[in-house]
Amino acid sequence: MFDITLLWEVRGLILQGFWNTLWICFTGCLLALSLGLVLAALRLANPRLFGYPVACYVELCRGTPLLILLFLLYYGGPSIGLTLSASVAGVMGLGLYGAGYFAEIYRGGFKSIPKGQLEAARMLGISRWHALTHIQIPQMARLIVPPGTNQLIILVKESALISIISVDDLTKNATTIVNQTFQVIEPYLAVALLYWLMIELIARGGYALEKRLANRQPRPASQQGATPHAHG
């Protein structure tokens, strides 16, 4: 029932789709990671000014489907003078949508570092910058790797939606093959396997990174279930 020669005949379309999915996911995730960091930094630096707007943005991302955002960018953009190609709209959609989630992940990591550590650092005469780069960021990095990996996986899977705004990604090309060959199982399963592969690689990468970071640093007190007085 499973015809492997059919897949060989359409390898061009599959590879093209795979390449497009790869670069759009990569740039989209990069945009999400950096924009999320900016949002989280703004919120932490000046909660009074940026707290509310950033919180609203986060809720907006959490409460509305990515598909709506893609349609707003691709079909709604031109009416405010923003004409984007489908793939750029895809990258921007993934980036803007993911940024809301990443902002919250960064903030969660930052907040879970006990205040006492910073107070102790100040007592010891360690500068604010030094405390940030040597105390807060190393610990935070370890805490945000698992939820960050999760979010990257979600974004890669959600990237299939860009096929709806006519980007020639894996999903769109699979549908093209289905319509050309009238075979449903082979193209869709092959493409599903490729997504699975990408996701498995991200998951393993995240796991390896988590282990490396864990070996380098002592565990933060909050993770040992310690009382506020028990770390030091």
Partner: protein
């Protein structure tokens, strides 16, 4: 945006109703399947655990759009004619079951082993233990991730517009192409999704506050 909402609210609300019916039926059906899968995942027998793990891995590891297309085009191939809306509910159910099973599995692992041992000592059957002792606590423990899953499914239901189910997203597409106001129309739709999800989140927070008591701790 307001103009669109005011002029087209009957169709928009009809679309929203379809969105809610599809998502909530998938959540409810997925809950049953998810609980069963979670029992499978925590089973002592490898022969039960392994296929459940494979199922979970596939449905969590591939895009839901691809799953939808696969279900929608595959079933007629094997001789099962299915309406788009049924295919939509079926796909969302099979997808959410995998995610819910993982939520429940993690909840079950938080129940102290002593409780289950005590139940066995007291001569309570393993099925009764699951029904009366484990699951009531698991539902309370897993309410926050379950709410997230409901919101995710509500958001994901937007892509069933691809197989021509006239839910909120598809209705908005139709309005956008008729009025030539895509920006306003999709903003209006976004507002409706946001409103429903905010209500859900508030409801869940209220439930969680009410159910704080009665949890056994180790």
């Amino acid at each position: 945006m307001l103009e669109i909402l005011l002029n087209h609210y009957p169709v928009l609300l009809e679309g929203l109703a379809t969105t809610l019916v599809v998502s909530l039926s998938a959540i409810a059906l997925g809950l049953v399947l998810g609980v069963l899968l979670a029992f499978g995942l925590t089973s002592r027998h490898g022969l039960v655990r392994w296929p459940c793990g494979l199922y979970r891995s596939f449905w969590r590891g591939t895009p839901i759009l691809l799953q939808l297309l696969l279900v929608y085009y595959l079933l007629p191939e094997v001789g099962i004619e299915i309406a788009p809306i049924s295919a939509a509910i079926l796909t969302l159910t099979l997808n959410t079951a995998a995610f819910q099973s993982e939520i429940f599995r993690s909840g079950i692992s938080h129940i102290p082993a002593g409780q289950i041992e005590a139940a066995r000592m007291a001569g309570i059957s393993s099925w009764q233990t699951r029904r009366r002792i484990i699951m009531p606590q698991v539902f309370r423990l897993t309410l926050p991730p379950l709410t997230n899953e409901i919101i995710t499914i509500l958001k994901n239901s937007s892509l069933i517009s691809v197989i021509a189910v006239t839910e909120l997203m598809r209705v908005s597409e139709q309005i956008a192409s008729r009025t030539f106001q895509p920006l306003e129309t999709y903003l209006a739709a976004a507002l409706l999704y946001l409103a429903v999800n905010l209500v859900l989140a508030l409801l869940s927070a209220h439930l969680e506050r009410r159910m704080t008591g009665g949890l056994a701790t180790d």
